[in-house]
Amino acid sequence: MKSLSKNNLHWCEGKTMKNLLILSSFSMLFLIGCAEVQKIDTTNDTGKQVLSLDYRDFDEAASKMIQSLISSGTLAKKDGSRYVVSTGRITNDTMQRIDTDLLTAKVEQDLMKSGQVVMTSAVGGKESNRDETVYNMRETRDSSKGEEFKQETLPQKGQIISPELSLSGKIYQRNLRYDKDKQQVEYYFQLKLSDIKTGLRFWQEEVLIGKRGSNKSVAW
């Protein structure tokens, strides 16, 4: 048996080291590629769909709601003045942790831009629909701290304007078995506009967003 000469050994070690270096370099490049973060082009997103709700679904639902409400003519007052609207309770009846403001904030924004609506921060279904400063300043006015303020700049009693209309609704989810490999998930976005004084409902809309995907995907 030939014994390994020193030269052979060095040659083996050299080749092994070289291979190890190449392998390490490729591994590092691969890992760096895996860790890469990409910013979503939210203006023209061509990314694939996901089974749960993403921002595109909220955009689509909000857009359809806004268009339906504006084209319905419900918000057109005869004298051209604006309705005072509050956002009431929007229930999340899905398996996902959703902040319903993802839908309502967009709707509120466009309603105000339409010139037909002014939103109120004095009342609302959620804390985020209200601005506590409206009441904090009144408490301040009624306390000793109020004396520090210029009295004419403090809010007086009987100045808050009551909302005339209230926006409420629900987002709910249905999961169905499509076939042995796929599931179907249906998301229903429902919004209603009601007259607070009379309790009458003047507008209602439902937007359905349906998705089908692998049973291995999760919709929450």
Partner: protein
Amino acid sequence: MKKCFLLLFFVVSAVLLNGCGESGDKRVNLDTGVKSDNLANNALTRPVYGAFSLLIGEGIDLKDVKVFTNDAGFMEVQATGYNRAIYTKRFDYKVEWLDKNGVVVDSKASVWLPVSAKAKSTFSFKTVAPSKDVVDFRMNTRKTTE
């Protein structure tokens, strides 16, 4: 040679005769499989026409765009098209609204919205401006992302 001529004859016949013989109210679209087959549209010629349609890449034709102002003073746009393809075509559209100075009016409703057009059928979709300041619009389309 004979087979080639026969195939060519079928292709040309299918292309030329497709749509012939259709009568009735144009407002009602009877889909293949619902209406009766005819010389140009039957189990033999359909695959030939279908292949030809795919080959030439038939798609959506825009037929009409109606623009009007609704009672509340907002511009509404209705686009009507015809899907010449042999399969349901899905696409997205996005509208940008312009004021009298040609400046884009920002809106949360100006997002990509899906439209589905059934094969060989007329379809329409409607959109409303977000503000009374809107005097014009422009619309973009793209293939639906799956």
